[in-house]
Amino acid sequence: MEISVNEGILDLNERAASENRKLFDRHGLLVINIMGSPGAGKTTVLEKTIDVLIDSVRLAVIEGDIYTSKDARRIEKHGVPVRQINTGGACHLDARMIRKALDEFDLENIDLLIIENVGNLVCPVEFNLGEDIKVAVLSITEGDDKPLKYPLLFKESAAVILNKIDLLDFTDVDMDSLRRDIRKINPVVDIFEVSARSGEGIDDWVRWIIKKVKEKTE
């Protein structure tokens, strides 16, 4: 006997994500989901971002990690509320994990929630969290072939941060071709070239966030 089903495999997560989104919208809270490989520099970018943003935006952070709370401890030192989610083996955060973590925050007094996803170029992007914006962090030392190898992340992201730009001279990366590939996949994406280590380029990226926060809260 043949049974017709036609049900989305991710439907459960999608429903939880849209509940999250309603909650975020009700509180006028902008939510950014940051994704990228392990070692791309997501946490370092975030640390530099917090240091600039902290005077103008009320922000909080959710740190996703498989087992440890190392990143949350780093973020904590920058004086913002942070909550660690350990996925216990899973390669991505999902919407229900986020929902649970939200109980720990005073959402009414936050304008921006930044979620750092588990380090992984593949899995996290399939699982919507209810965020307004996805952002990809790619370090140039990973090579300029990554966008075409992992197109979905670059397609879904509103911004791409190309990190470790200070190391360009030590790589064979062709920046023009890297930018071209990203724009081929996503012609409307904003690209920021930064060095989280030196702070180069962080100001432009922070101005972009502030603009997005204003758009959401006004």
Partner: protein, 113 residues
């Protein structure tokens, strides 16, 4: 390896549809998977085996129907296959390509006996 997580979703659906058919054995599950998803067919297959073991799905055939990535140009109305993930219209060079197919990720049907 999020295919295991995806497969958990597949089996939630399978269970829902077979809850009232306790004596039935599932012999086939058909998934529809778009080109612009991060689900790898081989990994889906091995995750399927893991979840099926010891259930009424054990031994069932998994069919993965792949759907190509296609788009529609909002400017010149060109419609066709997107090559190499290039979201620039091959006809008018417009940047407004809307995805038509290629993001599917669903259970299409099951066969039970």
């Amino acid at each position: 390896m999020h295919e295991l997580a995806l497969m958990a979703g597949v089996f939630d659906i399978v269970k829902k549809y077979t809850a009232e058919l306790p004596d039935k054995k599932v012999t086939r599950v058909t998934l529809v998977v778009g080109e612009l998803t991060n689900a790898v067919p081989e990994a889906l297959e091995s995750s399927f085996q893991v979840y099926a073991k010891g259930t009424n799905v054990e031994g069932a055939e998994l069919i993965v129907r792949r759907i190509p990535l296609t788009a529609l140009c909002v400017e010149c109305r060109w419609e066709g296959k997107v090559e190499e993930y290039t979201f620039i219209c091959p006809k008018c060079s417009g940047l407004g390509l809307e995805i038509k197919t290629g993001r599917e990720l669903y259970v299409e049907s099951m066969e039970v006996e």
